[in-house]
Amino acid sequence: MHIRSLSLENFRTYTRLELECPPGPILLCGSNAQGKTSLLEAIYCLSTGHSPLTHVDRHLINWTAAEQDMGYARLRAEVVSRSRALEIALALANSQTRTGAQRLQKQIRIDRQVRQPRHLTGCLNVVLFLPQDIDLVAGPPAGRRRYLDDTLAQVDADYSAALDVYREALRQRNALLRHLAERGGDASQLDPLDARLARSGVVLCQSRRRLIADLSRYATRIHSELTGGQEWLKLEYHPNFDPALPPGLAYQMPMGELSGPPDGISADDLVNAFRAELDRRRKDEIARGMTLTGPHRDEMRFTADGVDLGTFGSRGQQRTAVLALKMAQREWMTETAGEPPVLLLDEVLAELDMQRRAFLLAQVGQVEQALLTATDPTMFGADFLSRALLLRVERGIVGPYT
């Protein structure tokens, strides 16, 4: 798929942008803080409904516009996929709550119809690669869970729906546990929330397990090409509670080796196992006032030849692992969605050696469209530059590169 046009209003540095995007590589050149990354961020927002860089939607609104009481931002893209063309729009606008407080409202429209964020699934698939993505290997686990959620939610509608249910049930459940801890009350109010948490949680666990197994298979091959077969990269899923691993069987199956539940175990069995675990820990959870079990505490690890790269890897090893992960994601998305995603590469070439640069640029040839940013276009070879559309980004204005 590819983006045919992008229009932004009051988004970050852009007061107004109308950009036609042809298929093929598009290279955005310019100094730092001119709006190159924001352009990729905007596309990611349209793909997932949220920014990869901030949890605070208010930060996305152009600063001058916010100052002048124009507290809104609008993003819109026309996307052409193999089967259809559609328009995605995201609007952020200030509104007043009934207590008079300011609140930022987010509205998503697909082909002009107001939709929920989860309906964005399948509309625009992207692989985003930022310099700070090295934190996926070495940073805190929340970043890895967000990565898994964003990757799955882009292509799997069942996952998006389950994720919504899980998050809502978890928030309600934590609020209830806190209340029961502080004030007491009828603990059976937990039962319906436990049922929802278990049913949706099993979907998250199973999907994450399959995704990590698939990504690991692609990443192992890619990583082996990158390192000349010197290291064996693996991605491992470490679920907080694994309903597919009944306690009695745990000793037979080493962690990370399991690509699915053992034969003869149905989805209902998994839900029941999850609920049994919630029952077992209920007293403890009420005492602590929070949910202690479930995929919101899952972990994923990167290992090379069995050594944990998050703890023991060098910066170079971590960088190569992330590159392998992102390119594995490209292959996985192509296979799952039936067509290649849009690649968004932010300043990542600068960090790589010649061999890895060549590898990454070859990957760009595998997709319909890629947007790349660079302060210095000369690090791209003449061959690549002759195929790419070059644009200059300067203080929120995009123009031809001369």
């Binding site: 809502e168 609020a175 209830l176 209340h179 009828d186 039962d191 319906p192 049922a195």
Partner: protein
Amino acid sequence: MMFGAPPSVTRLIETLSELPGIGPKTASRLTFFLLRGETDLPLRLADALRELKERTRFCSVCFNITEADPCPICSDPARDRSSICVVEEPLDVLAIERTEQFRGLYHVLHGALSPMEGIFAENLRVAELLQRVQSGTVTEVILATNPTGEGDYTAAYLLSKLRPMVARLTRLGRGLPVGGDLEYADQVTLANALDGRQDL
């Protein structure tokens, strides 16, 4: 030195602002509208508000809003006492009454479970419902909470509480727009949903 509006004006603006959906701007506009008019609207409004407060109360049986206790529905001998329809708000009673499809009694919870918003079972008329069902001759309870996350949660919670006490438990069926409020459903849709209620 700055002069503000007279205290009586400010007081009305502030009071109106406490209403849901009314911010300070709308409150000022309403206040100055009432001030400008030559009519007796402000006095009629004041009377209506006073009467609302003095004459209405919650029915001690079903907790609907009423002037007489028990309410006209609860004291109507023609209503079927074996069937109770549980709703979130008094407005839902009006919506279901409009369909003329239900001849039983009601129970108004005054909200739905939502721990995030600080609403727990003890904040709703749940204990009163259980007591009513336990001590009465009820054979069917229709769980007619809204088809929202909170409404479904409340229905599931009540289901487990009522299961040992009632022969038939049902939930409003097909056609209701998911995520919407009962009070906004049209008469035909609501009548169909009542008719097609599903056993739980």
